[in-house]
Symmetry: D2
């Protein structure tokens, strides 16, 4: 089921959100509170932007809670835009290429959810990936397939349109197969951050965000007990944190979500 | 805190106790019920006797619940005497040599518990290991140090006397340092199986056993809801399953345990 | 480029061929002599048949030469038909699902070679896998794709026909794309063992076999310096060791191979 | 036997020396040229100083050549003083705590060599570690034991005196036991870098350095074919690169080394 955090703002050490909070992502790896899987011990990953257009990644199959490398990296790496993810596999193997986040060119993506019964819908979803991006498929997850479909739909040109188109197509696939879809995901290109909370034929996974001046942190579940600080993202909505602009919350496929209920 | 099982009896596939029961050792790796650590995801190990005097070992740093090798091995390996262990580290690193069981010559050992504040008592306990066995120390745990001290105290000659002597000495060390000791452990030599439930300055960890004809299985917690089948081992006692003899439950350092309370 | 061994005969410990010989598979993992990659340190695997129709597997991403589990398993596991494989990746990630051998039902497969420029031919080869077996694709290698295509072509019905049909189709694909194909592979169903040495637009990888009474061992390169003992399998040929029958060496797509030269 | 590099100078990306050169440390992991072990695939590590007094570490048991995390980190992490190390084990297990570099407080250490027959001299060398630092021993290597003995001998106060004293004591131990000692090592405290090439009863391992303005890089073997650029460090000598001072090469236990020959 997974838990994740995404940050965009002033450059800070990753530890600020990944390891230090009371209910940090590391704490959530061993005991999540708002997830069907309380243990998220099937690997983890960090992704961050520095001085290159492409992000850096650190992904590992061991649980986050016992990884000493992770603590060193979170303390030493600083970034203005980063992702952290702890995984609870829904069936695909625990391998590094199946850990989130995924990177392709300057884009980075991570996901908490499920794309139907993957064995049944996999070929249909993989068919959405154009040849140009199929060579970038190094793992076997539904999440990576969605990301490469998004790349093919034109993230570079218009990320929100690409996400809308791909998720509409996938909704149609799961509807045909009477499957459930939960898509609580984050996308970034090094400057802007987009987060989505959407589902079809099921309740969407939780998503919260917190802003302070021009910083925004978006999380699967609150990092501490100060509940006022964490605003829930409504179902069928997205958080858009464009470079140098205030954070916006806007509908995302809300009409499809309603229709599906 | 760890969870473990030990079996001695007719030759069976390891899956019979490690992976198949409702509340199998694998199930306990992700959600133990009678342990302070409900997640036992810091590595695991199998040890078994076959046609050689020395046991075979399979130890791995990943959680047991997602290890596909473990399922294959439990299905294909048969043994008349085997151990299974899932680890929750009390501080020492998650490495294969720190995973249980440990093997030395024809002996095999595993442990659930803690030997005081390890940083404070380590040198004293390591000093109990004679030079002859110090070269066999490949990890850094308290458990392996206790095992090698047991080897040095003469397991081959008289295992119960060796265990009594070493645990008395270690009780004295933790008493001097005002530390706690919990020792719920299993020992085997390929023919006989010994299990101990002992503590000093703390409550001992749980231990149960179940017998059927000449088979015995000893477990940290029951493998199913048939509670009648699982008899608790009293604190300060041991289970002795000698080759070709009925299972006995007898006091082990009971007087020390009482004194320490 | 990989190195492998396959054995069918009287039940023996795996160590007999995997770890004990002078130039054992483990020795080849650190220094192969007849391979373009002298180091085969990108993971390894064992597969063996016991009392179940389905094989057991042990696959790991670390190099074979330092894996203590591998030594224990090779010493303790006995089998009448087993595979051992050390991997030198041709580009796909070092993950357990990408390590050989692969298993599906009662079949087991391993491969040394390359199926063209995988990024260019992947979709065409994956399209040969029928839906029924696509759900069994847990990795991303060319080798696993070929195996599942073989399953789809009817290994259970007639393994040699299935192999002939699939490799003809793949030869056509690589010919169209002006790519090279090297296929030195082994297949088994628990009773019979089939090994192939074939290539298109390139020289085939080495393959040798050695027989003694009803035992046969087939290897990428000889396990010792007794060269008389190891007979080379000619290019465009296969070794067929059917249950209870003498070993045969017969042409396999020889005409295609000649045509391609 | 291991290979390593150490850098002190203007802040640069680690990739500059770890991954980019023709004969980079990564290239040396699969094929070293001046080492008795040509394959250095038993784990690796990075250590670097950033804005904290304590270094960051990334250590992993897999071979460096296939580790995608390593490539991302070398590209994204910048430092004015860093270490890189690829390991060929001389017998101790392949675990993360046995990978170099080691860190303790603000000090960092790595080593290429061997401290006698470790099973025979281990207790004597570990006895050189004062209690204050024995709790920092998380692995089982000779190298980590030497480092903690150095810490105990006063690295913070006078690193060269500490190194001289500890290596004299260890020379005496190996002389008594008629063992060999090879110590080609690097030490740093975030500002200054010290490298040693020393041996007793054996030839010292190779060591080279290259300077450009105020930058210095010290390596087990040259990173490219421009041999003029790489000056050998003479046996029984050390390279001292103190913060803000020119690099010096000076004798280190030269008299002991001569005596031992």
């Amino acid at each position: 089921m997974c838990r994740w955090i995404a940050y965009r703002g002033n450059t800070i050490a990753l530890e600020h959100y990944v390891t230090s909070p009371t209910h940090s992502l590391i704490a959530q790896s061993i005991r999540a509170l708002e997830s069907t899987a309380s243990t998220n011990g099937d690997g983890f990953g960090l992704g961050w932007y520095g001085e290159h257009p492409e992000p850096g990644l650190y992904r590992e199959v061991r649980p986050a809670w016992s990884d000493e490398n992770l603590r060193y990296l979170c303390r030493h790496i600083h970034s203005h835009l980063f992702f952290g993810h702890v995984r609870a596999s829904t069936g695909t193997p625990v391998t590094r290429p199946n850990c989130h986040p995924f990177a392709c060119g300057r884009w980075m993506f991570m996901h908490n959810g499920v794309i139907g019964d993957w064995a049944r819908v996999r070929r249909r979803v993989e068919a959405l990936i154009p040849d140009e991006f199929y060579g970038s498929r190094v793992g076997t997850t539904d999440s990576e397939a969605v990301f490469l479909a998004l790349m093919g739909a034109g993230l570079d040109h218009d990320p929100i349109s690409a996400a809308t188109r791909v998720m509409s197509e996938i909704t149609q696939i799961v509807n045909e197969k009477h499957e459930a879809l939960r898509f609580t995901a984050a996308l970034a290109d090094g400057r802007s951050l987009y987060a989505f909370r959407y589902s079809a034929n099921d309740k969407p996974n939780t998503l919260y965000y917190s802003t302070a001046a021009e910083d925004v942190v978006i999380v699967s579940e609150p990092l501490d007990k100060e509940r006022d600080r964490w605003k829930p993202v409504p179902p069928g909505h997205m958080v858009v944190a464009r470079a140098g602009r205030p954070v916006e919350v806007a509908p995302f496929l809300e009409e499809l979500q309603v229709a599906a209920e």
